[in-house]
Structures are given as structure tokens and as C-alpha cells.
């Protein structure tokens, strides 16, 4: 059981950054950013390749910059060239496949054998004992979350939020939506790539297919978190994605240890995701049915 909790916490913190990126692009900017899948692998590939070359620390900012570049391409396609936003993400994502292969030296995967990673470096400091991986992943996620929440309170952050909330208003209040969308998508994809970078170094491997479907999982984490923690302020949103991500990983770990065959994993993931997304609708439907039953019963008694 402790092992499940440890794994869930570690993976939950690492993948929470993807959910946080989607919180920014999907929830705040109202753009379904399909760049996410490819961008996650890009971060992973850049990070692992850098670490393999002996620069595990440099790997993290390098991955983030590469992610921001991917976000910039998507933003450029949709703001300057008039490509519809979902299509812009898909186009970038397609192109990223080749870029990712390139980043790993034209190989489909890249492994770290005895090289240092941020995790081995951190373990060497002796902080956290057995919990070092969770501590490091958690620290990265919390710091990133704090930066995001602080940023969203600045003039630029408020402008980005307004861009997703009311385009008409934005145009009438001297905000350039092209600029805010670009900054928002660069930031979101930098976070996605950071997630890939951390995951890559933790698992000591990068694979060209490792990020397939990550956008759906991130979305599920976001919605699970919002269902439990609730929506509202930016701080609440940032906490929600972390909670959602950890919970998702707990469910995932339980499924892995249950008698359900491992081949069914993708199907189970899809069902969990669908249930999480449908939960608010199902809840209000159930509440309405209960109210209706009660009202009808009361009417019958009255007669």
C-alpha cells in the first residue's frame, strides 16, 4: 500500500504539470491545445538527451525552452496565419514527431544508463531519504504552480485571463489578443515540456511514443481536481490540478495491481477519464431526478 501511495505521489506530482499547462491553455485561454502530446515527448527527449550528454541540470531549462518554441509555432499558426486553433495544435504535433526523433539523434528512444539525473544528484544530498523522488517532483510542481498563480495576478496574466474570458472586451481594452495567446501557449507548453523533462529523467528513458494520449490524461486530472477541489480563484485551480493528478495516479496504480489484465489498461484509462469528465453532469442529473421524484411523490400525496 505504501508503495502505491509513493508511486502515485511521485507520478502525480510529475504529471500534474501537464494538467497545470492544460489549466492555462484549456481552462483559462479556452484553447484545446493539441500540441501537448508531442510537446511532452519533446521535453522528455531534450531532457534525456542533455542528461545523456552529462548536463542533467541544464536539461530542465533546455526542455522548457524547446516546449515554449513548440507553443510559439502553434500560437503563430492560429493568430497570424488563421489556422483554426485545434488544427494548429494537430499540425504542430505532427511536425513534432520528426523534431522529437531529431532531438534523440534520429532514434526512437534514448536511455540513461549510469549518467547522473536530477534525481541521482538530489539523492546524493541525502535530503528526504526514501522519499527523495517525491520531494523533488513535488518541489518542482509546487514552485511552478506558485509562479503560475503569481503570474496570473500581474497585468499580463490578467490580460491572458481576459482573452479567454471575453474576446470582445479584450479588443476594446487595448490588449493585443495575438500577444496574449502567444505568451499563454508558450508558457503552457513550457510547463508540459517540463513535465516531460522530469518524467524522462525519473524513468531514465525517452520514447517517441511515450506521450501519446497525455492530453486526455491531463484533461482528466484537471476535471477530477476541479470536481473535488472546486473552481474559482487561480490558487484553487492550481491546487485542483495537483490533487486531480495524484488521485488519477492512485486509481491507475490500483488498476495495475487489480486482477484486470494489463492489456486492458488503455480501455480502463479511457473509462476513468470519461467518468471523471462526466461526473459533474451525472451529479446534477442525479440531483434533478431526486428532486423530481420527491416533488411528484408530494403531489400524489396531496391529491
Amino acid at each position: 500500500m505504501l508503495y502505491i501511495v509513493q508511486t502515485a505521489l511521485e507520478l502525480g506530482f510529475q504529471y500534474a504539470l501537464v494538467a497545470m499547462a492544460l489549466f492555462l491553455s484549456y481552462r483559462i485561454l479556452d484553447i484545446a491545445d493539441m500540441t501537448t502530446d508531442g510537446c511532452f515527448i519533446l521535453g522528455c527527449a531534450v531532457s534525456v538527451t542533455c542528461a545523456a550528454a552529462g548536463h542533467p541540470l541544464l536539461a530542465i531549462p533546455a526542455a522548457m525552452v524547446s516546449g515554449a518554441c513548440a507553443g510559439f509555432v502553434t500560437a503563430f499558426l492560429q493568430t497570424k496565419l488563421g489556422v483554426p486553433s485545434i488544427l494548429a495544435g494537430i499540425v504542430t504535433n505532427t511536425g513534432l514527431y520528426t523534431v522529437n526523433l531529431m532531438a534523440m539523434g534520429w532514434k526512437a528512444n534514448q536511455s540513461l544508463l549510469r549518467q547522473d539525473t536530477i534525481f541521482t544528484l538530489f539523492r546524493a544530498t541525502g535530503i528526504g531519504g526514501d522519499w527523495y523522488a517525491i520531494l523533488l517532483s513535488g518541489a518542482i510542481t509546487v514552485v511552478m504552480g506558485a509562479i503560475l498563480v503569481a503570474f496570473l495576478g500581474t497585468r499580463l496574466g490578467l490580460s491572458i485571463r481576459a482573452t479567454g474570458d471575453n474576446r470582445d472586451m479584450v479588443r476594446a481594452s487595448s490588449i493585443n489578443p495575438t500577444f496574449t495567446i502567444t505568451v499563454g501557449l508558450c508558457l503552457a507548453n513550457a510547463m508540459t515540456a517540463l513535465s516531460g523533462a522530469v518524467v524522462g529523467q525519473a524513468q531514465k528513458t525517452a520514447d517517441i511514443n511515450a506521450g501519446t494520449g497525455i492530453v486526455v490524461i491531463g484533461l482528466a486530472c484537471l476535471i477530477i481536481g476541479e470536481t473535488i477541489v472546486g473552481k474559482g480563484s487561480m490558487l484553487r485551480g492550481a491546487i485542483a490540478v495537483v490533487v486531480g493528478s495524484i488521485l488519477y495516479r492512485v486509481v491507475y496504480a490500483l488498476v495495475l495491481r487489480s486482477p484486470i489484465p494489463i492489456d486492458c489498461l488503455k480501455l480502463v484509462t479511457a473509462i476513468v477519464v470519461a467518468l471523471a469528465i462526466a461526473a459533474p453532469t451525472l451529479k446534477s442529473w442525479a440531483a434533478f431526478q431526486a428532486r423530481k421524484r420527491k416533488a411528484l411523490a408530494a403531489r400524489k400525496e396531496g391529491r
Binding site: F151, R155, R161, A172, S173, I175
Partner: protein, 266 residues
Amino acid sequence: MLEIKQISKTFNPGTVNEKSALSGLSLTLADGDFATIVGSNGAGKSTLFNAIAGDFYVDEGSIFLSGDDLTYLPAYRRSRRIGRLFQDPMRGTAPHMTIEENLALAYLRTAKHQKAFFSRVSKADKAFFREQLARLDMGLEDRMRQPVGLLSGGQRQALTLLMATMVPPKLLLLDEHTAALDPGTADKVLKLTREIVEGEGITCLMITHNMKNALELGNRTLMMDNGRIVLDIGGEERKGLTVDDLLSRFRAGAGKALDNDRILLS
């Protein structure tokens, strides 16, 4: 000072839907002028506002505001100097952001903050917002942390008016901003508009379908027809003018009666 020289705009040129929305329109507003605009449906009133605000670029002519050429500036750059309210109260505010955040957004766009992307609102700014909200007399100063989506249409429109004028713009465009409100609220917002516009001496253009308001508010009344200004009444001539006078003057100017099912003659 607003100077519009001979602007023209044709939509869908060369197709069956070709529509000349503005044809050689010229207009000069002195600083502090408050002009009301009336006209039939499709006369080009809103198109004129869209041209000034930069929703599209005009085909011909030029637009100057305080000596600066706006003709080819994109909308977001013009809106640093131009405040605008629409008929739909939902268009002027961000519903999921709090009252305070909406005000901050409007406040932080001012010149001194223009390059300061990471500036935040200070305690002093918040006190200033509170004071400004109190002027609306709607109790909004005690609800600053609530999302704007919870406010009524009238409250949202009043808030938009405050956001547009908190830092006085060079020009304020009001596009029937009270038409979607109930009569009581509309009166209140109109009273507030007059207080703010006349109090701060803001140069203002206001489209209205209420002929009485068109004559009572401001110091000039313009009538539009077919993408042109056909009547411009100000000064002594405007005082003592009745709604009937205005309608007959319009008939003389445009060569036809004013047909508008929404015009209120009361």
C-alpha cells in the same frame, strides 16, 4: 479633438451583397464635445463607431484623434485612447474574473503601465477602485471579490462605463449602451453617463434611439442616413428644439421620413 475626413467603407465589394456603409463621411468633434447620433436602421451609425474603433480599416479617408493618425492603427492600439460601450452589457466585462480584476485590467492599461507587464495592483489602487465603485451607488464596492458574471446587466454596464472612463479616454463611444436595460436601470446608467462625461469633460459620441435623450444629452445632435451625416445641430439652434422639429429637419435633410421601428418618440 476628433477629425474624420471623407471616410468611405463598402462591404462585400463586387458582389450582389455590396453595401456602401459609409460614403464620404466627415466629422469634427472639439475637445469636450458630447454629441448624440440618431438615424434609421442601417444608416451606418454602428459602422461609423467600428471604423473609429478600428474593427476594420476604412477604404478611403482618414481618422485623427488629438492630432494622431489612427487610420491604419490596429484596434487594440486605438483602444488605449478610445473607450467603448456596446448595447450588450455582456461584451464589456470578463464574467469569470472578479470586479476587482476587471477594474485592474482597465486601470493597468494606462500609459504609465504600458510596458510594465508584471505590474500588479497595489493596496492604494484597490482603495481607489473602491472609491470609484462607490460613485456608482450600486453597492458594488462591497462585492469586489465576486465574479462579474453574478452582476445584473445594468450593474455590468455601469461597471463597464467606469472601466472605460476611470482613466479618462480621449474619446468615448457609446453604442446604445442603455437599450438592453430596463427603464429604471437605463435612467440610472444614463444619469451616470452624463455625470461622468460632463464632469470629466470627455469627448463623447453616443448613439441612441431615444429622440428625447438625443436632444437632452450633450451639446450636439447628429443625424445619419445612408452612411452620411445629414444633420448636425448644436449651440443656440439646439436649445428649444422639439422632437417634432428634429423629425421635420431630418425629412428636409435626408429627403425622406425617418423610418425606424425602434425610435422612441416619447
